[in-house]
C-alpha cells in the first residue's frame, strides 16, 4: 500500500502544533491521542511541512530553509578520491567554509563519510559552528563495489544496511546534520547497462522491461527498508532517495512509502524541463536538486569559459526558485539545490593515471547536448569533469592548501541569492490583478 511518509507534517503556519499543546494541557486523552503527531513536529529539528496548497517546505528549527548547497569533496591537486581530506591538518574546509558563507551557501553535500568519525564530526562542527553551514550526509549504498552491487543478495543488503545505520548512529546528534541521502544514480543500473547486477529470478526473465522492473522493485524496496530503519534510529532528520533523473520513480511510488523526499541528479543544461510537475505525477514527494550544474571549459574552443558556467547555473537557480513553496505559478515542491561542485577535482579525467592528478586535464569523457555551447567538440564530448568547480584550484599552495579562485558563477549566484526576484512572475501577477 502506498501512503505518504510520516516525516511530512501537514501544517499551516504552525497553528496545528499550538492547538495540540493547548489540548494536551486540558485533556490527557486528547493529548495522548495527538502526542505522536505533535512530538514528531516539535522534536524534529528538520522536517518537511506540507502546506494547504500541497506545496512542500523544508523546516529547520521552525523556520523555512531553502537549500543553497554545493557538493563538497576538497581533493587537492595531485590526489585522487581515495585521499582522506577529512584528516588534512591544513583544514581546507575552514577556508572553503568562509568563501561559501560569503557566497551565501548554507549546505554542503557529502556523498560518503570517511572511516574516521572524529574527523567527520570535526569538519561538520567547524562548518556549522563557524559558518552556519549544514551538512547532508549520504551513502553510495555499495554502488561502486567490485564486481557490482548485489542488491538481490540479502547478505550484501545486510552489510550495506549495517554501514548506513552506523553512519546514522554516529552523526545523528551532530547539530549540523540536515538530512540523509541514500544512493545517488544507482537507478541507472536497472537497465543492466551501468554497474550491472542481477539475481536468479532476474536471470530467468527474458523480457528486458520486466527485468528492469524487477531490479527497480528489489532496489527501491531495499532503500525503503533503510529509510524505515533510519527513522527508528533518528526521527529528527528526513531521508532522501538519491535518484538519477526521474527514472524508475513510478516503481519507487509503489515501494518507498518511508522516503521523505527525492534527491535528484539532473544535467539538463539551461533548465530542469518539466521535472517538478512530472514528479508530482509519478512520486509526489518534495524534490531537492541534489546534483546539477555545468562545467566551465569550452571543449570546442579549447579554453576556460566561466561565463558559460555562470549562465547555466543562474538559469538553473531561477527555475529552482520558481518551484519553491508559496510560489503559485510553480509546482511548489522544490526544497532547493546543490550545485556540483565546490572545487575542481584534478584526478577525475583519468583516475587510473596518478601523473594526471597533478594536471588540470582538459579532456572530456562524456557528452551532453543540453550544454550546447561546446557540443560541437570532437565526438560531441563536451562535459569536462575536472572543470565543474565554483572555485578553481591553483597549483600554488597557501598554508598548505591549493589556492581557491572563485569563478564568475560564484559572484553571479551570490547576487542571485541576494535578490532572487522572479520578475517575469511579478509581471504576470500584476497584469492578472489589473484584470
Amino acid at each position: 500500500m502506498v501512503h505518504s511518509s510520516k516525516f511530512i507534517v501537514h501544517s499551516s503556519k504552525g497553528r496545528g502544533r499550538k492547538v495540540i499543546i493547548l489540548l494536551a494541557a486540558c485533556c490527557l486523552f486528547v493529548s495522548v491521542l495527538f502526542l505522536n503527531v505533535s512530538l514528531a513536529a516539535t522534536k524534529q529539528r528538520v522536517y518537511i511541512r506540507k502546506l494547504k496548497n500541497s506545496h512542500y517546505q523544508l523546516i529547520v528549527n521552525k523556520k523555512p530553509y531553502i537549500v543553497k548547497g554545493v557538493c563538497y569533496n576538497p581533493v587537492p591537486a595531485g590526489k585522487n578520491h581515495e585521499y582522506d581530506w577529512w584528516s588534512d591538518p591544513n583544514k581546507p574546509w575552514l577556508l572553503d567554509g568562509k568563501l561559501m558563507h560569503e557566497m551565501g551557501i548554507n549546505t554542503v553535500r557529502i556523498y560518503q563519510t570517511s572511516e574516521n568519525p572524529d574527523a567527520v564530526k570535526k569538519v561538520m562542527r567547524d562548518l556549522y559552528e563557524t559558518y552556519g553551514i549544514r551538512t547532508i550526509l549520504g551513502s553510495w549504498l555499495g554502488f561502486w563495489e567490485y564486481p557490482c552491487p548485489l542488491y538481490g543478495d540479502k547478505e550484501f543488503r545486510d552489510k550495506i544496511k549495517a554501514q548506513v545505520l552506523e553512519m546514522v548512529r554516529l552523526y545523528k546528534d551532530e547539530p549540523g546534520v540536515l538530512l540523509w541521502i541514500l544512493g545517488n544514480e544507482n537507478n541507472y543500473s536497472f537497465s543492466g547497462q551501468v554497474n550491472p547486477w542481477s539475481s536468479e529470478e532476474i536471470n530467468k526473465e527474458s523480457d528486458p522491461r520486466k527485468q528492469r522492473y524487477m531490479r527497480a522493485h528489489i532496489y527501491y524496496s531495499f532503500v525503503n527498508d533503510l529509510a524505515a530503519a533510519i527513522k527508528e534510529a533518528d526521527p529528527t532528520h528526513p531521508v532522501a532517495l538519491g535518484n538519477g533523473e526521474l527514472i524508475g520513480l513510478d516503481v519507487a511510488n509503489e515501494f518507498c512509502p518511508d522516503i521523505d523526499l527525492v534527491a535528484c541528479i539532473i544535467y539538463r543544461g539551461k533548465t530542469f524541463g518539466n521535472i517538478f510537475k512530472s514528479l508530482r505525477a509519478t512520486f509526489d514527494r518534495p524534490i531537492l536538486l541534489s546534483e546539477f550544474g555545468a562545467d566551465c571549459y569550452d571543449a570546442y574552443l579549447g579554453n576556460e569559459d566561466q561565463n558559460m558556467q555562470a549562465f547555466f547555473l543562474e538559469s538553473q537557480w531561477r527555475q529552482i526558485y520558481e518551484n519553491l513553496a508559496k510560489n503559485n505559478d510553480g509546482a511548489g515542491n522544490c526544497l532547493g539545490g546543490i550545485m556540483f561542485e565546490w572545487n575542481d577535482e584534478w584526478w577525475k579525467y583519468n583516475e587510473y593515471d596518478p601523473a594526471g592528478w597533478q594536471v588540470h586535464d582538459c579532456g572530456s569523457n562524456w557528452s551532453n547536448g543540453s550544454y550546447y555551447f561546446d557540443i560541437k567538440a570532437k565526438d560531441n564530448k563536451n562535459m569536462n569533469e575536472e572543470w565543474f568547480g565554483i572555485v578553481a584550484l591553483s597549483g600554488e599552495l597557501e598554508n598548505g592548501i591549493n589556492k581557491r579562485i572563485p569563478r564568475k558563477a560564484y559572484y553571479v549566484i551570490r547576487e542571485f541569492w541576494k535578490n532572487p526576484v522572479l520578475k517575469t512572475q511579478g509581471a504576470k501577477r500584476k497584469t492578472k490583478n489589473a484584470k
Binding site: 544514480e185 533523473e245 541528479i265 539551461k270 531561477r318 517575469t424
Partner: protein, 540 residues
C-alpha cells in the same frame, strides 16, 4: 483650425522622431539610415495599427541587422507617447525587441550585458507583451504574434508559466482562425510549434492554415501552384496539406488517367533523394493514391523501382520487399532486376530474419550467366551464410565460383571473399565483427534486437564511383546520466576500404566498384549487445 493644428503636430512629431532617429542611427549604414528615416515618417503618418505593423517590422529589422537593440527600444519608446493608438503594437515590438536582444546576447555570448541587464530585460519582455496582449482585439493578428513571442520567451526558460501561456496561445489562435484576416500568422505559429517540438499542435494549425488559404474561389491550377510554391520554399508541411486538397479536387474532376499522371508527378517530387527536399512517407501516401485509381499499368518498371527504393530508404523494409518482388516478377530482364534481387536477398535474410527466403533470391541471382556486381555479391552472401552455418565445403564452393566468375574484376567483393577463404583454410572463425553481426541476426537469443536502437545513416545512398560516403550512427541507449556507457561499434560488411575502429561511431567510405554495398553494425556495451543494424548503398 483643428485640422491645421493636427497637421502641424504630425509634422512636428515626424521631425522630432527623425531627429532622434538620426541621433541613434548614425552608426547604421547610410542606405539603412535613409530607409529608417523614411519608414519612421510613414509610421507617424499611418492611421491604423494594421498599417504600422509591416512598417515597424521592416524598421526593427534594420536595427536588428546591426544588433542595435537598445537604440531600437529608445525609438519605440519615443513613439509611445506620440502615437497613443499604436501603443499595443509598440508594446509588442518593445517586448519582441528585448526578446530578440536576449537571444542575441546568449548567442553572441555577450555576457557582461547578459548578466548585468538580463533580469530587467526579462521583466521588460513580460511586462510589454502582457500590456500589449491586454489591449489587442481578438481579431487582431498582433494578438497571435504577441502571445507567440511571450510563449517562446517562457518556453526558452522552461519556466513555470510556459504551459499556461502555451494553452492561451493555442486558444487565441483557434479563436482568431475563425475570422482570420491574416492566416500567415497561423502558419508562423505552426512553424514555431514545429521548431519547438510541439508537432501535434503544429500539424493541426497547418491544417487550419491550409483550409484558410485554399479558398473555393481558387481553381485547381492555382491550388497546385500554391502547393508547389510552399514545396519550393521548403515548407513541406504546408505543401503536403495543399497537395492533399489538390488531389482531392482532381480525383473528382479529372479523368483517372490524367489523375495518375499528376499524382506520379507529386510522388516523384516527394520521393527520397539524396539531395533536395523529400518526404518518403508522404510520397508513399501518394503512390497509394495512384494505386487506388485502379488504372491498369499505372506503375511501370521505373515507378515500381522508385516506390520500392523510396520505401527502402524510409526503412519500411517489408513493404519495400513487396515492391522489389513485384519488380522482378514483372520485369525479369529490367534495368534494376539484379539490384532488386540482391536487395530482396538482403532484406529477407538480415532484416526480416528469413535466411531461407533470402538465399532463394541470392541463388536465383547467382545462377545468372550475365555478370553484374550483384551476381558476384550474391555468391559472396551464399558463401558467407554457409560458412556461418558451418557448411565450410559448401562455402568454399561458392567462394571459388565467385573468384572464377569475377576474374580480375569486382575487387572489393573479391577481397572480402579471399579473407573468408583464408579463415576457412586456417580453420579460423569468421572475423569477430562480422560474426557478431551474423550471430545477432540469426541466433534465437538475439531475436529481440529489432534495429530500433541504432539509427544508421549513410550519405549519399546513391553514390558515384570514388565519391565519399559518410556513414554515421546514433545509438538510443537507456539514460545513464554522467555514467557514460562505454560503447563498441562493430562495423562489418563492405566498407569501401575503410577500417573504422571499434570506438568510431562514424566513418567515411570510398567505393571503387559499382554495385550494392551492405554496411553492418552491431553496438555493444559492457552488458552485451545493444542492437544491430544494416543499410545499403548503391554505387553507380
Amino acid at each position: 483650425m483643428k485640422k491645421r493644428n493636427f497637421k502641424f503636430l504630425m509634422i512636428l512629431s515626424a521631425f522630432i522622431v527623425s531627429c532622434q532617429l538620426s541621433a541613434v542611427s548614425h552608426q547604421l549604414f547610410a542606405q539603412d539610415n535613409d530607409k529608417l528615416v523614411s519608414l519612421s515618417k510613414k509610421v507617424i503618418e499611418v492611421k491604423s495599427s494594421e498599417d504600422a505593423f509591416p512598417l515597424l517590422q521592416e524598421l526593427t529589422g534594420l536595427y536588428f541587422k546591426e544588433h542595435k537593440y537598445n537604440e531600437c527600444i529608445d525609438y519605440l519608446k519615443s513613439l509611445v507617447n506620440r502615437r497613443k493608438t499604436l501603443e499595443p503594437l509598440l508594446n509588442y515590438y518593445i517586448g519582441f525587441t528585448r526578446y530578440s536582444q536576449l537571444r542575441y546576447l546568449e548567442e553572441a555570448q555577450a555576457w557582461d550585458e547578459y548578466f548585468n541587464r538580463g533580469n530587467s530585460y526579462r521583466d521588460e519582455i513580460a511586462v510589454s507583451l502582457e500590456k500589449g496582449i491586454e489591449a489587442i482585439a481578438p481579431t487582431d493578428a498582433l494578438g497571435v504574434y504577441a502571445r507567440l513571442t511571450l510563449w517562446k520567451f517562457h518556453k526558452d526558460q522552461n519556466d513555470a508559466l510556459s504551459d499556461g501561456v502555451l494553452s492561451d496561445l493555442m486558444n487565441f489562435v483557434l479563436s482568431y482562425a475563425k475570422e482570420a484576416k491574416n492566416p500567415a500568422a497561423i502558419k508562423e505559429v505552426a512553424a514555431e510549434f514545429s521548431a519547438y517540438g510541439e508537432k501535434a499542435k503544429a500539424s493541426s494549425l497547418y491544417k487550419i492554415y491550409v483550409d484558410k488559404i485554399v479558398s473555393s474561389k481558387m481553381n485547381d491550377e492555382e491550388v497546385n501552384r500554391a502547393a508547389l510554391s510552399f514545396y519550393e520554399d521548403g515548407n513541406l508541411d504546408v505543401a503536403e496539406g495543399i497537395y492533399d486538397v489538390y488531389i482531392g479536387r482532381i480525383k473528382s474532376s479529372l479523368a483517372k488517367e490524367k489523375v495518375v499522371v499528376l499524382l506520379v508527378e507529386i510522388a516523384r517530387m516527394f520521393a527520397y533523394k539524396d539531395q533536395g527536399l523529400s518526404d518518403a512517407l508522404y510520397a508513399e501516401n501518394v503512390f497509394r493514391k495512384v494505386e487506388e485509381t485502379g488504372v491498369k499499368d499505372a506503375f511501370d518498371e521505373r515507378l515500381i523501382y522508385l516506390r520500392a527504393f523510396n520505401l527502402e530508404k524510409a526503412r519500411e523494409f517489408q513493404a519495400a520487399r513487396d515492391f522489389y518482388r513485384d519488380l522482378v516478377q514483372r520485369y525479369p530482364q529490367g534495368a534494376h532486376t539484379d539490384e532488386a534481387y540482391f536487395k530482396l536477398g538482403i532484406i529477407n535474410t538480415y532484416i526480416l530474419r528469413d535466411p531461407k527466403a533470402g538465399k532463394g533470391y541470392f541463388e536465383n541471382l547467382a545462377r545468372k550467366e550475365t555478370l553484374s556486381p550483384q551476381v558476384i555479391s550474391s555468391l559472396y552472401q551464399l558463401g558467407l551464410l554457409s560458412q556461418w552455418e558451418g557448411g565450410l565445403v559448401q562455402a568454399k564452393g561458392y567462394y571459388n565460383k565467385l573468384l572464377e566468375k569475377a576474374k580480375d574484376g569486382f575487387g572489393g567483393t573479391v577481397s572480402l571473399t579471399r579473407e573468408r577463404l583464408k579463415e576457412i583454410d586456417e580453420a579460423r572463425p569468421i572475423e569477430y565483427n562480422l560474426r557478431t553481426f551474423l550471430d545477432a541476426s540469426f541466433k534465437e537469443e538475439y531475436v529481440h534486437l529489432d534495429m530500433n536502437k541504432i539509427n544508421l545513416k549513410p550519405h549519399p545512398y546513391r553514390a558515384k564511383n570514388k565519391e565519399t560516403v559518410s556513414v554515421n550512427s546514433i545509438t538510443h541507449t537507456p539514460e545513464s546520466g554522467c555514467l557514460q556507457l562505454d560503447l563498441q561499434y562493430l562495423w562489418s560488411g563492405d566498407l569501401g576500404q575503410a577500417r573504422p575502429a571499434s570506438s568510431d561511431s562514424s566513418f567515411n567510405a570510398v567505393y571503387t566498384q559499382a554495385g550494392t554495398k551492405e554496411i553492418n553494425l552491431v553496438i555493444v556495451s559492457p552488458a552485451g549487445i545493444i542492437d544491430r543494424s544494416i543499410d545499403l548503398v548503391d554505387i553507380d
